[in-house]
C-alpha cells in the first residue's frame, strides 16, 4: 500500500469519521428502536422513545452530512453507489421516513391501536435501517461489478448475497447491543434491571455474529486482510476492538453504565476503522475487473475543492462537536416524562 498523506486520504478519513459518528450516534437510537417491542407497558415504551427523543434527528444529520460530503469529495462514488443500489436506497429512505413519522406521531393520540401500530413501525423500521446499512457495507467490502464507465452492472437481487446479509445481521446485533447499553444510562428501577439483561443477551448475539462474520471474511473476502498481513501493527485495532467488547459486561457489572457505553462506541469506531483499512485506497472495489475500482484518486473532486472543503470542515466541525456535546450534556441522566415529552 502506498500511503501518502494528501487531501484525498484526509477526505477518506473524514468520510470515515462522519460515518462512524453516524454509526455511534444513530446506532444507539436504532438499537433502542430494535428493542422497543420487548417492552409491553406503554409507560416503559414512552421512556424508551423519550430516551432518544431530543437527539435522534440530530443523529440522523450525521448521515445526511456524510452523504453530502461524499457527494462533494468523491462524486463518482456517490453517483455510482446511489444509482447502482437504487432500490436498496429507496427502501432505506422509505424506512427512514417511516421511522421518523412513527417516533413523532406515536404518542400524539391515546388510542391503543394507534400506539401499537406506530410502535411496530418504529421497531421494524429501526431494524430494517440497520440491516440495509449493513447489506450496503457488505457489498462494498466484497466488491461489486463496475463497468469501465464507472457504472454499477449488477441488480438489486445480487446485493442480497449471503455475505452481505451476514454483515446486515451483524449491524443489527451491534446496534441492539449499543442501544441497550445506552438505555442502561437512561432508565431506572424495574425497567433498568430488564435492560441489563438485554445487554447480556445482545452481547452474546453480537459476539456470535461478529465471530461468524470474521470467519466468513477470512475465507471468502481475503483481499480485506492484505493490509493486515503487510502491516501487522494494524492487528492491534482488532485486538482493541475485542478488549472494548469484553470490557462492556465488566463495566455493566460494576454499574458504570457510561463507561460501558464508551466501550461500545470504541468498538464501533474500531470496526469501521478495520473496514476502512481493509478497503483503502479503494472506496468501491470492482469485482471482477479490479482495474475499474473507484479509489480515492479516480473518483475524487479537484484538489481545490478538497482543500476548500477541508477548510469548511475545520471551521464547522468544532461547532458541531461543541453543540452536540452540550445537547447531550443538557439532556443527560435518567428519562423523566413531562409535558414536553413524546
Amino acid at each position: 500500500m502506498e500511503f501518502t498523506f494528501d487531501l484525498n486520504t484526509i477526505w477518506f478519513i473524514l468520510i470515515g469519521i462522519l460515518l462512524s459518528g453516524y454509526a455511534i450516534l444513530d446506532g444507539f437510537d436504532l438499537g433502542v428502536g430494535a428493542l422497543h417491542l420487548l417492552n409491553k407497558d406503554d409507560q416503559d415504551r414512552r421512556i424508551l422513545i423519550n430516551s432518544i427523543g431530543p437527539v435522534w434527528d440530530g443523529n440522523e444529520v450525521w448521515l445526511i452530512t456524510g452523504g453530502g460530503a461524499l457527494f462533494a469529495a468523491f462524486p463518482d462514488v456517490y453517483a455510482t453507489v446511489f444509482s447502482g443500489f437504487y432500490e436498496a436506497f429507496f427502501l432505506l429512505l422509505f424506512v427512514l421516513i417511516f421511522r421518523a413519522v412513527a417516533i413523532e406521531f406515536r404518542s400524539k393520540r391515546e388510542s391503543r391501536r394507534w400506539r401499537r401500530t406506530w410502535d411496530f413501525s418504529f421497531s421494524i423500521s429501526s431494524i430494517f435501517i440497520a440491516f440495509l446499512a449493513g447489506v450496503a457495507l457488505g457489498n462494498i467490502i466484497q466488491g461489486i461489478p463496475i463497468s469501465p464507465n464507472k457504472e454499477y452492472l449488477g441488480d438489486f437481487w445480487s446485493l442480497l448475497n449471503p455475505y452481505a446479509i451476514l454483515v446486515g445481521i451483524t449491524a443489527v446485533a451491534l446496534f441492539m447491543m449499543h442501544g441497550s447499553i445506552y438505555l442502561t444510562m437512561k432508565t431506572e428501577g424495574d425497567l433498568h434491571n430488564r435492560v441489563r439483561e438485554w445487554v447480556n443477551n445482545t452481547i452474546i448475539f453480537f459476539s456470535i455474529s461478529y465471530i461468524t462474520l470474521t470467519m466468513a471474511t477470512l475465507i471468502y473476502v481475503p483481499h480485506m486482510v492484505k493490509h493486515f498481513r503487510d502491516y501487522p501493527y494494524f492487528f492491534f485495532i482488532a485486538l482493541l476492538n475485542m478488549l472494548a467488547i469484553a470490557n462492556i459486561p465488566r463495566e455493566i457489572q460494576r454499574g458504570k453504565d457510561f463507561r460501558a457505553f464508551l466501550s461500545s462506541s470504541a468498538s464501533i469506531l474500531a470496526l469501521i476503522t478495520l473496514v476502512a483499512i481493509g478497503i483503502f485506497p479503494n472506496f468501491v472495489l470492482s469485482n471482477p475487473n479490479p482495474q475499474y475500482s473507484l479509489d480515492i484518486y479516480n473518483a475524487a473532486s479537484s484538489q481545490r475543492t478538497l482543500g476548500i472543503m477541508l477548510i469548511i470542515a475545520i471551521i464547522g466541525v468544532p461547532f458541531v462537536l461543541a453543540y452536540t456535546t452540550s445537547i447531550y450534556y443538557i439532556f443527560r441522566g435518567k428519562v423523566k416524562l413531562d409535558e414536553t415529552s413524546y
Binding site: 406503554d42 409507560q43 431530543p54 437527539v55 434527528d57 440530530g58 440522523e60 444529520v61 448521515l63 445526511i64 452530512t65 452523504g67 453530502g68 460530503a69 457527494f71 462533494a72 469529495a73 468523491f74 462524486p75 463518482d76 456517490y78 453517483a79 455510482t80 446511489f82 444509482s83 447502482g84 437504487y86 436506497f89 429507496f90 429512505l93 422509505f94 427512514l96 421516513i97 421518523a100 413519522v101 406521531f105 400524539k108 391515546e110 391503543r112 464507465n149 457504472e151 454499477y152 473532486s301 481545490r304 475543492t305 476548500i308 472543503m309 464547522g316 466541525v317 461547532f319 458541531v320 453543540y323 452536540t324 452540550s326 443538557i330 439532556f331 416524562l337 409535558e339 414536553t340 415529552s341
Partner: protein, 467 residues
Amino acid sequence: MNVELLSRLQFAFTIGFHYIFPPLTIGLGVLLVIMEGLYLKTKNKLYENLTRFWIKIFGLIFAIGVASGIVMEFQFGTNWANYARFVGDIFGSALAAEGIFAFFLESGFLAILVFGWNRVGPKMHFFSTIMVSFGSMFSAVWIVIANSWQQTPAGFHLVQEGSRVRAELTDFWVAIFNHSTVDRLIHVLGGAWLAGSFLVISVSAYYLLKKRHIEFAKASMKIGLAFAMFASLFQLFTGDQSGRMISVHQPAKLAALEGHYDSTKPAALHLFGWVNEKKERVEVGIAIPGLLSFLVHRNFSQPVIGLNDFPPSDRPPVNFVFQTFHIMVGIGVLLILLSLLGIIFWWRGTLWEKRWLLYIFVIAVLGPQISNELGWFSAEVGRQPWIVYGLMRTSEGMSAAVNVGQNIFSLVLFLIIYSLLFVLFIFLLDRKIKHGPEDIEDHGSTYEAQRHGLESLPIIRKGKKKK
C-alpha cells in the same frame, strides 16, 4: 414513459412536497424569535404562551421537513448520477456545507426548544430559538447557492476526463456568489417569511372566529400581520431584483415568463394571458405595453430579448412558465393587499369585528404556499432544457444504471408514503390547532392529568370492546 420524464416527475413531486415545510419553519423561526424576545423583555405570560404553542407547531413541521429532506440529499445520486458526476466538485460542496453549518445547528438546538423548557434557563432557551432560526436560514443559503449555480454557473472550468466532461471549481467565492445567488436568496427568504406569518395569521383568525383563546389570538395576529406586511413589501423589491437579474443572465427564461417572442420590440407586461406556443404569441390577455421593458431597462421603448433569438430546442415550455409565474405574482399582490387591510383595520381598532376578513385570513395560509411552489416551478421549468444553464441538458443528467421499471417503483413508493404523510400531518396539525395553547398557570395540573390519563389508559380502554 422514459427515464428522463419519470426522474423529472419524481424530483418535482418529492421537492414539491418537501418545500411545503422548510418555508414554514424559516418563517415561523423568525416569528418565534420575536415572540420569545417579547416574553423575555416584558415577562408577560401571554408571550410565553405564544412561544410554547408555536414551538409545538414548529416541531411538527420540522419533523416532516427533515423526513422528506433526507430524500433530496440522496436523489442527485440515485436518479441524476451523470449530473452528480458533472457538478459534484461544486454543487456537492454546497450540500455538504449545508449539513455542517445548518442542519447540525438547527436539529441540535431544536431539541432544547422542544424538550428543554425544564432543563435550561429562559436566556439559554431564547438563545436556542435564535440558533434554530439561523440554522433554518443557513440551510436556505446553501441550497440557494447550489441551485443558483445551476441557473447561472460561474467560477469553474470544464475538464475532460476520459469520455466525460466535468465542471471543476476555479474560484470558490465567484461560484458561491454567482450572478443570481443573492437576488434569489432574498426572494426565497421573503417567500418563506410570508409562509410563516400567514400560518400564524390563519390560526389566529380561526381562534378569533371561534371566539377561543381571544387574547392569545390577538397577540399572535398582531405579530403575524406586522411581519407579513414587511415580508410582502420586501417581496415586491426582491421580485424586481430577480427579474432584472434574469433579463441579463437567463434571457430565455425571462422571455418565457412573459411569453415575449420578438427581440426587436419593446416588451409588455401581462396581467394574465395564454401563450399560443405554435403561433408564438400571447392570446386573450391583458397587457401593459412597454412595462417589461421599463422593469428591465427602466425605459419603456427599449427592446427586450425574445424567444425568437433561441432555437426551439433551447426554449423552456413557454405557457407553463408563463402561467406559474403570473399566478405567483398575482398571489403576491393579493398578499400585500391583505396585509395592508389587516394593518389598517388593526390601526383603526376594528380588525377583530371584521369577520369577513378573518374568514379570508383563515384560507390565506394557502397563498404563500401556492406562490412559493409556483415560483419554484417557473424558476426550474424556466431553466429547461438545461439542468445546468447552457452547459448540460437535463436529458444528459440522468443515471445510466437506472431503468424505467426501477423509476416507476420509486415514484409509486413515494406517491404512497407522501400521501400518507400529508394526511397524517394535516390530521395532527388540525388536532394541535383545535387543542390550542395551554394556559401556563395550569401547567402542573395538566402534567398530573396527563400522567394520570396515561397510567389509567388500559383500564379506560378495557371497557370498549374491540371490533
